[in-house]
């Protein structure tokens, strides 16, 4: 599974081995150099050269407004002189060439740091300069210390902000700072890729021999070079000198990371190196494990105060259950009743999380909590009703995918419930009152989640939407002699389509007001009467029935006229109109839309022309579009099916999607030509 490598560490009392588990993506060989240690390759501050100033962006990206010429970072773990505790010291040094005014924003720098009531990250030794070439000399404008602002953005975030002076098109800017962090767990992530291209980005991490990190490289870009060396006695702990492995990661000629529409989490694709602490060798012997096997994690989570312990709190619900499940005859009905109870009882406070903020009792009392509070309450309540309920840890779409090689708890940011009834299991999230039983919100539909069971080992489960986004339209009507269509439009929405519509309607004071707005928006169609049913019974299809009237023509030329049958959800714009795609396309959910139209004509007509009947599909059964139209017994009929079977399409499928939509758009531009029969 992972590669292990060993490095001998000289230590007075102990002979020990350190293990560094490497992700597969990093499975390159490491060189062991025991005696030679080279110094950090940081470049000199302020040493601007003509090569820097005249760097030709064409060699990297002729579209660039600014380019990072050089970027160097180094991180190490040291003893803080004041607190005598271990801190991470991270030094960052950047040199950027600014080509034009569009690139000026690269000179507005924001460094976010973490803070809470106990711990905080600090920034020091900040310096920044602008270099301009004036009268055959490089002139340095040094940033004032007072031009640096710190802003307490929120409870946990502080921003250090600064901008550079005397910026001109062509300027080279340079800055460096030191960040001290009490967070050793994630060491310091290094992003090779940024929003502008980089000529070179190098990161040196000094990892003390007693610390063992899991390291993973994400993104499409390859490392240009990496090496591992021994750095002797880099840290002294309780009088013990500890050696470090000095890890160097170098990437050159890195393209800018450009976000695209409908993209899954950028962190899935942005080239960066991540660390997570696996274990620490204690000076006095023994090891403390941080990242472990799932077996260890299972045990810990099951007994964790804000996770496993909350799942066990059946006591809170024991007395409520008979009332909640009153009238439920089987387990499934019971589960539904409990799900509905929690949805109503605890409001999601819009925070994600896998741990309860305090405890579920408090959430129930306050009727408010984060995702974990809501769903741990659900699990506890289901268990109180003697149902088999488990917790599922997952990472939301915008948070990226999780590491499957070993447990990385910080990858997870969300928790849902799983209830097993008979031979079936259902994934439940009670944070969205408008979702039906067993349909997870779209944000949760992201690869796999880990099921935590209090008694059995944990396991992976696919996070799939149990329902598609489905809409059916049926229009039955007749055309009048003065060129109007009068009829009934019946719409059934299910799955995510119903959820979206219910959410939309709930924003209005009454369905009547919603329909009034709809009527105003549909300028060509008048809604004469309406009824909306199943608005509150989210388990059923949402049904809208509209008596409508709309004008096809003014009736003056009813001997022969054109008539477009594509007036319900027509497709006129191509959502995939670009020529290139780098990253997968995320459409949210698979969808299915069907339209059936039957319009009786006032007299006998002939159909001279009609849109072509179509049946087209996407490769690998990714989707299909079917269209059939005709005239029979004086009734115009249209039947259209549009299916997109995947939530996510790969980048190389983009052009197929583009062509798929283009074909539909072209066909929808054509019309019926009707001629009165003699």
């Amino acid at each position: 599974m992972s590669n292990y490598f060993r490095m001998l560490v000289s230590s007075i009392k102990l002979r020990q081995f350190i293990y560094a588990q490497m992700n597969k993506t990093l499975s390159l060989l490491f060189l062991l150099i025991l005696s030679l240690t080279t110094q950090a390759q940081n470049f000199n501050y302020g040493a601007i050269t003509h090569d820097d100033y005249q760097f030709d962006r064409k060699t990297l990206d002729s579209n660039a407004n600014a380019i990072v010429l050089k970027e160097f970072g180094t991180a190490s773990i040291q003893i803080d002189d004041n607190t005598h505790s271990l801190v991470l010291i991270f030094e960052h040094h950047v040199k950027i060439k600014i080509y034009n005014k569009e690139g000026f924003k690269e000179a507005n720098i924001v460094i976010p740091t973490y803070k809470d009531s106990n711990r905080e990250e600090t920034i020091s030794d900040l310096k920044a300069s602008t270099f301009n070439y004036v009268d055959n000399n490089f002139v340095e404008s040094v940033m004032d210390k007072k031009a640096v602002f710190t802003e307490n953005r929120s409870k946990y975030t502080r921003l250090t902000k600064f901008t550079l002076p005397n910026l001109k098109e062509g300027s080279v800017i340079e800055y460096s700072y030191i960040l001290r962090s009490p967070n050793l767990f994630n060491y310091k992530t290094w992003e090779f890729q940024g929003d502008i291209p980089k000529v070179s980005s190098e990161y040196v991490a000094y990892i003390p021999g007693i610390y063992n990190y899991n390291v993973s490289l994400r993104g499409f870009q390859k490392l240009t070079d990496q090496k591992s060396e021994l750095s002797k006695e880099c840290l002294r702990l309780s009088g013990v000198a500890i050696d470090c492995s000095k890890m160097t990661y170098l990437m050159k000629n890195i393209p800018a990371f450009i976000e695209e529409d409908n993209m899954t989490a950028p962190s899935n694709f942005k080239s960066a190196i991540y660390f997570e602490l696996s274990d620490v060798q204690n000076i006095n012997g023994g090891k403390t494990f941080y990242t472990k096997t799932w077996k260890d994690v299972d045990y810990e989570l099951s007994n964790y105060k804000t996770l496993g312990d909350q799942m066990k709190r059946k006591d809170i619900f024991k007395e409520l259950i008979p009332t909640i499940t009153k009238g439920s005859t089987d387990d499934l009905e019971k589960a539904k009743a409990i799900y509905n109870y929690i949805k109503k009882q605890i409001k999601w406070n819009n925070y994600y999380g896998v741990y309860s903020e305090d405890n579920i009792k408090k959430s129930l009392d306050n009727r408010s909590g984060n995702v974990a509070d809501v769903n741990l309450s659900l699990i506890a309540a289901l268990s109180a009703a003697n149902l088999d309920a488990e917790a599922v840890l997952l990472s939301t779409r915008d948070n990226g995918t999780v590491n499957k090689l070993y447990p990385v708890m910080s990858d997870f940011n969300y928790l849902v419930a799983k209830v097993n009834i008979g031979d079936k299991s259902y994934l439940l999230d009670a944070t969205e009152p408008l979702l039906p039983f067993a349909l997870l919100p779209l944000r949760c539909i992201n690869d796999q989640g880990r099921v935590i069971n209090l008694k059995k080992p944990s396991y992976w489960i696919d996070l799939k939407a149990s329902q598609k986004s489905t809409t059916n339209y049926v229009l039955t009507g007749k055309m009048t002699t003065d060129g109007k269509i009068v009829g009934t439009l019946l719409t059934h929405s299910m799955g995510y389509a119903a959820y979206a519509k219910r959410k939309d309607i709930s924003r209005y004071n009454s369905p009547d007001e919603y329909v009034e707005k709809l009527d105003e928006r549909l300028t060509r169609i008048k809604i004469l009467e309406h009824s909306i049913s199943n608005l509150d019974s989210v388990e059923n299809a949402l049904t809208e029935k509209y008596e409508i009237e709309f004008t096809v023509n003014d009736g003056s030329n009813n001997k022969q006229f054109y008539f477009s049958p594509f007036f319900i959800n027509p497709i006129s714009k191509n959502p995939f109109n670009l020529n290139e795609r780098t990253y997968p396309v995320d459409l949210g959910a698979a969808s299915d839309e069907r339209i059936v139209i039957n319009v009786t004509l006032p007299e006998k007509y002939e159909l001279l022309e009609k849109p072509k009947d179509m049946a087209i599909g996407l490769p690998n059964a990714g989707g299909k579009y079917l269209l059939q139209t005709g005239l029979q017994d004086n009734t115009i009929s249209v039947s259209q099916i549009m299916q997109l079977n995947n939530a996510i399409y790969q980048a190389d499928e983009y052009l197929y999607l583009k062509e798929f939509y283009s074909k539909i758009i072209q066909n929808q531009k054509t019309e019926f030509l009707l001629k009165k029969a003699n």
């Binding site: 579209n63 569009e102 600064f162 109503k344 009152p433 924003r507 939509y661 072209q666 054509t670």
Partner: protein, 635 residues
């Protein structure tokens, strides 16, 4: 008699004090529920101006939220900075039958920076809180007290904050010393306030009851023009260690000039000399100013820093000279200093910027109006305006950001209201000419030239300077047509007081005119389709069109040989109304099919009953814009 009245009043007060407030939602009259997403059951706002540096604001508010859309109104938001201290916040949440569900206090509030996203630094902060309630309707009741250490800006009163909110009752009480002088701006308030004066204080009370929620109507005037509001400005004020007094714009402008600006204008001697050298060959003041403006645009960039005196005082000109950046105040002040080095007079002008035009109120001077600064040069009758925060905008052009409105010029003689030039319907042009060749298979290739002027000058301006890939991407957003691609893209600018931007592109659109059987379907208006607008019955507010414009499109299609041109019948349309005009014409000459479209939208305010005409006009244009020809193909 007066005595009697006071006793009655006191009794009334005490009754309220003792009564247990009942927040049962059923007690809200049906009329107040209609169209309301929230209802303010009761709000009491009391301002006690004890001394200029000690103004207490206390608010008690009970609001019922009917649905999710009403939650914005239930969120309690308090902005504060060094000049404001929050004395206490507490509240309760009641369910629909009026039972208390939860309580909250200051510790439940999120406390975040009020930075607006682009500022380098803003020193004001905001506390906000929204109760978590899952069942509608619910009622939030809270009260809080705030101490303002200034009285230049007195919290104003808008009892009905939005269209979708109804108000059961709301009151606003202003307490000051009987000797204090204040000016009051009363807007859409019926009746006169109640005034109670004794030796120690003068109390003025405004009250409203039962204001209904209304539907938000498109093309309406700004909410503040029809909402009830009271604003108060004391004569003598104190602000961040500054003292002053004003009753009109002249005096306020004088104070701004003397206290906030005058000391900020000194430039280093070298810069003064540089300016003199820069303009020594220019003959007129205007040419000199143009040269200096170019220097400003090359040297500086806009960075917002809002610190200290409420964002009212610019950093010194010498600082901008050294750093090369500043916010709108700093850059205007710097430009003004550079101009005065060349002996050119100019005025620092406070303006309410934004595409929607808002003027300073000529009858009521106050410090809360305006959010941006521009520069005005009188130039002996050839008044020229400068926007100093953009590095690209042409000299003397304000754009739709600050056109056609009253601004406050702060001059050494005091404040003066000036009117910025208007960009008119006839000037706001978009003139497009395209020559497109249609192939037999429906593909289109050709050239398109578009000229943008007036308020439309900036339509495509952001594309200039962007990389080619970026330009193509943005063009696909502007011309969002299936299968469109661009071969060449070029922009030219005429950067003067009446600027002009020309966009020249070669394009192709695969399968634009699909062939079906022996017909080719061609939508004539390719690039400029007017969006439809809602049709609203029983319109209440007047129709307000903020800015007019004129669009003209001429597209010449060269048809493929297999189209039977003899069968083409043009469908010309002409609509004319108070709101504008529309013409579309098709003509055929040999293989050339010419489509011409002209659309004029007039600005102005029109009576409410005219809305039906307006929506009909726009929606007729929308339908006509979709005009499609079915071209017969020769067999």
């Amino acid at each position: 008699m007066k005595f009697l009245f006071t006793v009655a009043f006191l009794l009334f007060i005490s009754v309220i004090g003792y009564a247990q407030d009942n927040y049962d939602v059923d007690l809200i009259p049906a009329s107040l529920r209609n169209r309301a997403n929230a209802c303010i059951r009761n709000q009491e706002t009391v301002i006690d101006m004890r001394t200029p540096d000690n103004v207490m604001l206390s608010v008690k508010k009970a609001i019922t939220v009917f649905n999710q859309n009403g939650e914005d109104e239930a969120r309690l938001v308090i902005y504060y900075d060094k000049n404001i201290s929050i004395k206490g916040i507490k509240g309760e949440v009641y369910n629909s039958i009026g039972l208390a569900v939860t309580k909250f206090n200051q510790s439940n509030f999120a406390d975040v920076s009020a930075a607006d996203g682009f500022s380098l630094f803003v020193d004001s902060r905001v506390k906000h809180y929204l109760p978590s309630v899952n069942e509608y309707p619910y009622t939030v009741v809270y009260n809080y007290e705030i101490r303002n250490k200034q009285n230049l800006i007195i919290p104003d009163w808008t009892p009905k904050p939005a269209d979708d909110v109804s108000v059961e009752k709301s009151s606003y009480t202003f307490i000051c010393k009987p000797t204090d002088q204040t000016r009051v701006k009363t807007q859409n308030y019926n009746g006169t306030p109640e005034v109670i004066t004794d030796e120690k204080q003068k109390k003025t009370i405004w009250k409203v009851n039962n204001i209904l929620a209304v539907r938000t109507e498109p093309y309406s005037p700004a909410h503040e023009t029809y909402a009830t509001s009271i604003q108060i400005a004391p004569l003598d004020f104190y602000y961040y260690n500054h003292k002053g007094n004003y009753t009109n714009w002249q005096e306020l402008g004088k104070w701004i000039y003397d206290d906030l600006l005058k000391e900020r204008k000194t430039l280093p001697p070298a810069t003064v000399q540089m300016v003199k050298d820069l303009v020594k060959n220019e003959k007129t003041d205007k040419d000199k100013a143009r040269k200096i403006y170019q220097y400003l645009q090359d040297k500086t960039r806009y960075i917002s820093v809002q610190i200290g005196i409420g964002g009212f005082q610019p950093i010194a000109a010498s600082e901008v000279d050294r750093l090369g950046y500043g916010d709108c105040k700093a850059l205007v002040n710097y430009m003004q200093s550079l101009l005065s080095a060349a002996d050119i007079e100019s005025h620092y002008c406070v303006v309410e910027a934004g595409s929607e035009k808002k003027s300073m109120d000529p009858k009521y001077a106050s410090m809360v109006q305006g959010n941006h600064i521009i520069l005005c040069m009188p130039l002996k009758g050839d008044t020229t305006w400068l926007e100093c925060t953009s590095q690209k905008i042409p000299f003397g052009f304000l754009s739709d950001f600050t056109d056609d409105r009253l601004v406050l010029a702060c001059t050494p003689e005091g404040g003066k209201l000036l009117h910025t030039p208007k960009l008119t319907t006839a000037e706001n042009l978009q003139i497009r000419k395209a020559n497109l060749i249609i192939e037999a298979d429906g593909n289109i290739t050709g050239k398109m030239n578009t000229v943008y002027e007036g308020s439309q000058y900036e339509n495509q301006e952001e594309l200039i300077g962007k990389s080619i890939t970026e330009q193509h991407k943005l063009l696909k957003e502007t011309y969002n047509i299936d299968n469109i691609d661009f071969e060449t893209v070029a922009f030219a600018q005429k950067k003067d007081m009446a600027p002009k931007l020309t966009e020249e592109i070669t394009l192709n659109i695969r399968n634009y005119a699909p062939v079906n059987g022996n017909k080719m379907f061609l939508q004539l208006n390719t690039f400029n389709i007017k969006k439809s607008i809602p049709e609203i019955k029983n319109r209440i507010l007047p129709v307000y069109i903020n800015r007019g414009y004129t669009d003209e499109d001429t597209i010449v299609y060269t048809l493929p040989d297999n189209v039977d041109t003899t069968l083409i019948i043009g469908q010309d349309k002409t609509f004319k109304s108070d709101f504008g005009q529309y013409v579309c014409k098709t003509s055929i000459e040999g293989k050339k099919l010419t489509y011409y479209r002209k659309f004029i939208l007039n600005d102005g305010t029109f009576p409410a009953e005219k809305y039906a005409d307006f929506s009909k006009f726009i929606n007729d244009v929308n339908s006509a814009d979709y005009l499609k020809l079915a071209l017969s193909l020769k067999k």
